[in-house]
Every structure is written in structure tokens, then in C-alpha cells.
């Protein structure tokens, strides 16, 4: 006898709860999406780009466009690397408003090697050591003022850095 009276408020509450969640979700879609997208572009580890097997595809995944060559980028890499497991590569640039710098080795199994985020106040200079499977270009991509620039240099590798 009491069941209808007891069950009614419960269902009503459930329905209210349900609509509340939907309303919140709806709000979330509108207000949080642009923020989430921005955060993804700025903060998230770009897993897909690192897994790409093609250098150009990796750049496209990372930046959504292609880079134009620039003579304002200074890329230092050895002409000949005896040991492909440790190749010292450094870059500096006179370009203003640099936000990211990345290194791509097209002949590697996964060409994207490193992606550096440069906040305002940090100098657009990076030095690091990369592995190279065989003789290949080393490409550096500099994102500056919302545009993409690149520089490349060939490194001849006598012993590959992939153990093979």
C-alpha cells in the first residue's frame, strides 16, 4: 500500500538528478571544449605524433600544417656520426616569439624524436642527444609567432643507433 507513495519521490528525484546531469554535461560541451582543445595543444604528451612512422605525417599531426625553410635557424649537428646511438644536436634561432622546437629524424622508425615547449622568457636554444638508425637528415621545426619554420642537416651515420 505504501509502495506507490514511497517509490514516487524516488523516481522523481532520479529524474531530477538525471536532467541535472544532462544539463551540466550540455554546459560542459559548450563552455569547456575550447579550453580542453587548447590544453591538449599545449600540455598533453603528443603520443600519436611520436608513434608516426612518417616524418611529414608526424609534423602534420603535431602542428596541423607544414613548415617553410628559414635561414634564421642555426642547427648544429656533426657531419659524420661514428655512433648513431649518441648524436649531439643543438639549435638556436633569431626568430622571435618561439613557442615550440621539435627534432625530426625521417629515417628513424619513429621520426619525431623530441618536442620542446618554450614558454615566454625561455630562450629559443636547445641542445640534446639523439639516436639515429642510419644516415639521415635531422630536421628541426621551430614554431614562432604562430608560424612554422624549419632547417635541416644531413648526418652520415657509420654505426646505427638502433642496436640492429
Amino acid at each position: 500500500m505504501t509502495t506507490p507513495f514511497n517509490s514516487l519521490p524516488v523516481t522523481r528525484r532520479l529524474i531530477l538528478k538525471g536532467t541535472g546531469t544532462i544539463a551540466l554535461a550540455g554546459l560542459g560541451m559548450i563552455s569547456f571544449r575550447p579550453v580542453a582543445a587548447l590544453a591538449a595543444a599545449n600540455d598533453k604528451y603528443p603520443d600519436d605524433a611520436f608513434k608516426q612512422k612518417d616524418g611529414n605525417e608526424a609534423i602534420k599531426l603535431l602542428y596541423g600544417r607544414t613548415a617553410e625553410p628559414s635561414d634564421k635557424i642555426k642547427l648544429d649537428a656533426p657531419e659524420i656520426a661514428e655512433n648513431g646511438a649518441v648524436v649531439s644536436v643543438s639549435v638556436s634561432t633569431a626568430l622571435a616569439d618561439v613557442t615550440t622546437i621539435s627534432f625530426v629524424v625521417p629515417e628513424n622508425p619513429n621520426p619525431l624524436a623530441a618536442y620542446y615547449r618554450i614558454p615566454p622568457g625561455t630562450m629559443p636554444n636547445v641542445a640534446n642527444r639523439l639516436k639515429m638508425a642510419k644516415t639521415s637528415n635531422v630536421i628541426v621545426i621551430v614554431e614562432a609567432g604562430g608560424k612554422l619554420y624549419s632547417a635541416a642537416r644531413e648526418v652520415k651515420v657509420t654505426i646505427g643507433g638502433c642496436g640492429g
Binding site: Y115, M123, A127, N128
Partner: protein, 103 residues
């Protein structure tokens, strides 16, 4: 365990030069061991430097960064005696953190 992170941060006028060496195998997953089996990928994915509560440098790494990675960069605004916090996390979820004073 001793820290895997070795950092030297030197204030040099307006900028602070930061050099870092980290002990890490950086296994790419493409190398075979003595038995001919692939050594699973094990590499640092993200390395972050923080000064005064602000990220000054973030490195996202793939498998092509050399074993025991080295990285060098410079930033403006650091002073002698300031803390610089360095932390990394790898693809297995392992991590390490170190805080050093700017010299």
C-alpha cells in the same frame, strides 16, 4: 636510491643556463637482447623544469632520445639561490623529481 637527475643551473647575468643529465635506459623497443628478444620500450616521455611555480621548459621525448639523456636550455628571470624543480615521468609511469639551487 640516488637521484637519477643531475642538474646544474648557473645564473649568468640576465639568463640562467641549465644543463641536465638523467640516468635512464631510454629503450626504444627496436633493440633485441642476447636471446634475440625485443627489449620493451622504456623511455622518458615528459621532463619538466619549474622555477618560481612556473614551467620554464617542458620536453616531450620519444624513443629516439639517447640513453642517459642530456638536455641544455636557458631561461630569463632566475636568480642565484632560487629553486629549480626538475621532474620526469616515463612510459611505464615511473618518475623522479629533484630540486636544485641556481648557482
Amino acid at each position: 636510491m640516488a637521484s637519477s637527475i643531475r642538474v646544474r643551473a648557473i645564473a649568468n647575468g640576465e639568463t640562467t643556463d641549465v644543463q641536465t643529465l638523467i640516468q635512464h635506459p631510454m629503450d626504444s623497443g627496436f633493440v633485441k637482447d642476447d636471446k634475440g628478444e625485443f627489449i620493451p620500450a622504456h623511455f622518458i616521455q615528459e621532463l619538466t623544469f619549474e622555477h618560481d611555480g612556473k614551467k620554464v621548459f617542458v620536453a616531450d621525448w620519444g624513443t629516439a632520445v639517447s640513453k642517459d639523456p642530456y638536455v641544455k636550455f636557458s631561461f630569463k628571470g632566475g636568480n642565484k639561490g632560487d629553486d629549480l624543480k626538475v621532474s620526469w615521468i616515463d612510459n611505464k609511469g615511473e618518475s623522479d623529481t629533484a630540486t636544485v639551487k641556481i648557482q
